[in-house]
Symmetry: D2
């Protein structure tokens, strides 16, 4: 079965690889198509535009870095809506605003095709290991059709209802929970260090007792060790996600002081020139710097 695949970034590439492993042939599009050289060549067809990638397929998967780029790939001059067959299902996996999903869902319906949101949690390693957590929203029928593709990409698929944007809300809330946890750990470990404790011992204790969850174990280790290399996720992308949370807070009238605080930590890191550093550094170093360590 051939499907379209748009976006070969840090996340998209391992996801495309898993789809190939699962037996799919991919019509791939990426702004810099050289990225496709990393994929099994026999299993892909390189495309020059999103429209080419969406031609004659029943599914398109997209994984792009922001709302505007996705909108362009859908309804721009060379957007997929120009070619996507009637009845096709666009599986939109980018981290975007629910507003964009709702808008795009409408555009697809007008064109006779369909759109579901399916953002994921997990870093590139998790994508490669098929360990992503996939969250979905959109029409039940189309989610059911997409299920095999989603199962080839992650360890679980959790649904959040029929509103096209619902899974995007969930993803934005989750990203907020992660960055807030980074701030939380950075403050706690630095308090401990400044009072004479070993911050690694502190991280180990909490990561194996009250906070024995991946976010606290994995990021806790990095923050405790002040280990900000290699860069897993750039601060400037973290800031983009934080801005999505702030925007959602504003449009839905949900005051979120902690989201503001975490947002500002990332904004400070970017303002100081650390936009290409790991987002964990924005919190870890941000807090230790302020504490004079």
């Amino acid at each position: 079965m051939t499907i379209g695949f748009i976006g070969l970034g840090n996340m998209g590439t391992p996801m495309a690889q898993n789809l190939i492993k699962a037996g799919y042939h991919l019509q791939v599009y990426n702004r810099t198509i050289a990225k496709a050289d990393e994929l099994e060549q026999a299993s892909i067809t390189k495309c020059n535009t999103p429209a080419e990638a969406a031609a004659n397929v029943q599914f398109v998967v997209s994984m792009l870095s922001e709302d505007e780029i996705l909108k362009e790939a859908v309804s721009g001059e060379n957007g997929l809506l120009h070619t996507f067959p009637k009845g096709g299902v666009h599986i939109s996996m980018s981290t975007i605003s629910p507003e964009t999903s709702q808008l795009l869902s409408g555009l697809h319906e007008q064109a006779g095709s369909h759109y579901i949101a399916a953002p994921v949690f997990g870093r590139p390693e998790a994508a490669a290991a098929k360990k992503l957590f996939v969250c979905t929203s959109g029409a039940a029928l189309h989610k059911a059709a997409a299920q095999p593709i989603l199962e080839a990409l992650g360890q679980s698929v959790t649904d959040f209802g029929e509103d096209a944007g619902a899974a995007n809300v969930l993803k934005i809330a989750g990203n907020f929970m992660i960055i807030a946890s980074l701030e939380l750990m950075a403050e706690a470990f630095t308090l401990a260090e400044k009072n004479g404790l070993d911050r690694v011992a502190v991280a180990n204790f909490f990561g194996s007792t009250l906070f024995n969850a991946p976010i606290y174990q994995n990021y806790g280790k990095l923050i405790a060790n002040k280990q900000y290399q290699p860069v897993g996720f750039k601060a400037r992308l973290g800031l983009k996600d934080a801005r999505l949370a702030i925007k959602l807070s504003q449009t839905s009238h949900t005051p979120m002081p902690l989201a503001m605080l975490a947002h500002n930590r990332l904004l400070t890191a970017v303002a100081k020139g650390g936009g290409d550093n790991d987002w964990v550094e924005a919190f870890g170093k941000g807090v230790t710097d302020d504490a004079g360590i």
Copy 2:
């Protein structure tokens, strides 16, 4: 073996019960001694003062609600230092400042006895189930001597070094991590709700994936369901703990904006008359109220 036990509050009572189960006879002191009626009478001797409770024993366990009350129980008119035998070890399990532990440690040494800090994580149910996490600090020799008693009280004992106050720092850092997590969940779930999602589904998703740790699972359920009864831990006690974190932040020159934010959520709840309500309500209802829900 007979040991002294001071403080029969929500935590102290189940802890005393576990010591009795482990075979210890207790000389118990509590401000309102009627609380001792809940204990197996054959296994206790009721005392009128901390000094009585500490007479002729090698160990005293204390579990009191705040620094000043503990100081009074140690060095006040009827304090335990008047009677505690030379070489005795005071196992101080209250949530107090490291400064108080350091002060009391010195007073014990002057009197020829010893002091170790052994604060715990866990609510009264955990205390009853012997599921507490015990954290220790103080002289190695005395911690070793106290080990069997501590093992009778919790599921693990983790050491943080020789400085008498170290375990108190850890405990304060941990309490901060908990209240910050309450704020974090309250904001995330409310954002989701105001954007049309089911907050219980959101809590379930995160509690079974990225945040599958007790703090997020147990408190997450309460916050998602807006269930603030029965009262497990009063907001005014939570505020006391938050104040310990603020104080430590100040004395150690560790700026902690998130601690300030969480502190203010509790302060607001207390100011509005909710000091005797559950601390989870301070966050859960605090955030939904501000969001107009």
Copy 3:
């Protein structure tokens, strides 16, 4: 001399009246044109579109409530650019983002006309009394041409340079300074009240000594007296201005924790249903509510 005038809101109406007093004839446009009945009829020509208002005049003054509405009035279907004579100068007095001013400036230049930003400080009473503080930016030549009109509207005209958006930045910074001052006073007076002082006496003292400036004297009186009627400026409009500050903070990479805090106070008021109440109430009542008064 005839000039175009677009926007007869709380601010626009008294401004139009002052222009009439200064001898100008106005081609007025307002979405609900009935508002024009408040003006001296002999001195106005009612128009059905912005394009009509801008026909055959050398100057157009606009005073609208937000960026999108202004953009529509300029370049929409019936926008002024369709008729505005070459060489004309659009004096844009709304509170908008600098980005919008820069965009509109470019559109005017393309069309052969010109654009200057001239936002103002002052409430409707100040507008009526010709006591506005006008801030300008744009090309020197066009600002010079507009000077007599601006002098008919305010007590001073201060220039901030050639970048079309500069005065908008200044205006947004000033609005931030005002809302931050409201928070500041609300906290200070409430602290005083909860410690037994008379908040009016406190406001009087500071308003006549260290803080003897209009913002602290006028708003200070309202906050001290908890007097939130009549509504001078709606919380929802204040929130719009706060959002402009947040946006500018984001785009220019300027972390502004105090702006976030003040923004959230307004967002909370709007979320709770107080969007049509005075913005001072958002701060005054927001703080006393949290303090349990």
Copy 4:
């Protein structure tokens, strides 16, 4: 007339000079008595203890740096209560907590003497120029008796009632208002700068219009010019004052998020080693550093 004078710091010295100019003879005490060499020698008697300074006088003025030092000077081993004549009035001008004033007022009454609080606003230059704003609280009779002395020290005396601590509350609230204003200006001017405006022009505009008050004019100039030398008031002393505000916020159950924010700015400066720098730098440089300037 001879009066006691305790505390020859940056503020105390010019105040003592004004009392001498007004014709008073002073029995002065200072921890390092060499500071008394700056005073007119014919008009003073150097004392070795607070008790000596308070012997045989009807009034004692004290101006010390913190609560504990004042308490020691009153009721310590060589405290003034040992010698202060019955009926004497202690004019306590330090920036201290209301709690301390209430405590000391009680001790004086027990000893047969009296205590009024009379903290001041103004920097050393203002003290030298007799331009301080004096705020009083305490028993009316004793305030009346002290009036001539207070008038020799400042440009106005404003009363806040009979509760001994009331003027201290006012002083703490005022200091909070000042530091919050520093944060406010630092954020506003930096936002302007990062968007291309001249921050000095911005400060000048606001300082001569909406914010034409001394706090905004004088500190505004320093912040706009990033001029943090010479040191007028040390960040570590500003932090002490901010801590008094936080403490009062806690004890009176008044949530003050802005006070927390301003406190943390000072705490950050001190943590980074800037405790002896000017407090304006903590805000001015704190904000520009975070903005990457």
